[in-house]
Point group: C2
Chain length 159, copies 2
C-alpha cells in the first residue's frame, strides 16, 4: 500500500461471489475480446458484400462506403486486404465477388447475425435498437450462447 488513498472507501463488492476472477481466466477473457476485434471488421465487410450480392446482384465499393459510412478510399484499401486474405476476388473498377471461403464466412456471419437479431426481438427489444445492438454483439457471442439464443427464440415463437 501507498500513502493517502482517496479511493480506499470504495464500496466492497456487492456479492462476495463476484470477486476478481483468477488471473489466467481474466486474461483469457480480454485476449478473446482482442482477438474478436481483429476479425470483426473483416467479417462485417464480407457479410455486407454477401448481402449486396444476394439482394442487388452486385457489390460495388461505393455502396459499401455508403452503407458503412466510410470513405471510398478506406473501402478500397480494405478490399485489397480481403483480396490478400482470399475472401474476395476483384478486377479493378469491377464489382466484387466472394471466393468459396468468403461465401462461407458470409453465410456464417449472416446466420449468427440473424440469430442475435431475432433473439433480441423475441426478448422484446424494439427493432431499430435490436439492429444496432446485434451489429455490435454478433462477434462476441459464443456458439454455446448462440445455441441458447436460438432455442429461446423458437420457444418464444411457439407461445
Amino acid at each position: 500500500m501507498t500513502d493517502s488513498n482517496p479511493n480506499a472507501s470504495l464500496p466492497a463488492p456487492s456479492i462476495p461471489g463476484d470477486a476478481l476472477p483468477p488471473v489466467e481466466q481474466h486474461a483469457q477473457q480480454y485476449a478473446t475480446v482482442r482477438n474478436a476485434h481483429e476479425t470483426e471488421l473483416i467479417e462485417d465487410y464480407v457479410e455486407l458484400i454477401g448481402d449486396l450480392l444476394a439482394h442487388r446482384g452486385e457489390a460495388r465499393a461505393a455502396d459499401i462506403a455508403n452503407r458503412m459510412a466510410v470513405s471510398q478510399a478506406t473501402v478500397s484499401k480494405m478490399i485489397r486486404r480481403l483480396n490478400e486474405l482470399e475472401l474476395v476476388t476483384s478486377k479493378p473498377y469491377r464489382s466484387l465477388f466472394l471466393t468459396e471461403a468468403g461465401q462461407k464466412m458470409a453465410e456464417t456471419s449472416r446466420a449468427r447475425h440473424d440469430i442475435v437479431l431475432h433473439f433480441l426481438r423475441a426478448l422484446g427489444v424494439r427493432d431499430a435498437t435490436a439492429r444496432i445492438d446485434a451489429e455490435g454483439m454478433e462477434h462476441h457471442v459464443s456458439d454455446e450462447t448462440l445455441a441458447i439464443m436460438q432455442r429461446f427464440t423458437e420457444q418464444q415463437q411457439k407461445s
Copy 2:
C-alpha cells in the same frame, strides 16, 4: 451489372422482411459499433482499475498487465492516456487512483457488465462462457436492451 457473375446464384434472403436496411439506418449501425470500439478499451481499463481498487485496495500497472495479458509498456502508455482524459491520477511508481469521472465510469461499466453477466447465466449459459461473452458484449448493449435483460434476470430468479 457486369459480365460473368459467379455469385449470381446465391440464395435469396430467407425472409423477405430481412432485406437490406435503408442506407442511413445501416450506416448508423456501423457508426455506432465503430464508436463503441473507441471507448471500449478505455472503459475496460477503468473498470479493471476500479475492481482492483475495490478488491485489493490498490491498482498497480503490473497487475493490470497480467490481468489484461498485455505488456507493461502497453499499460504504461495507456495510463498516460487515461491521465490525459482525466480518468485516473497517478504519481510515477505509485498505485493508480480514479478521479471522480473515472469512478463514475467504473461504476457504470461494472453495473453494465454485471447485468449482462447475470443475464447470460439466467439464460442458462455456463459460467466460464458467460464471463467471456459478457466481456465482449457489454460495450454493445444499449440501455434499452440492458433494462430488458435486467428484468428478465429478476423474473428468472423469482421462479
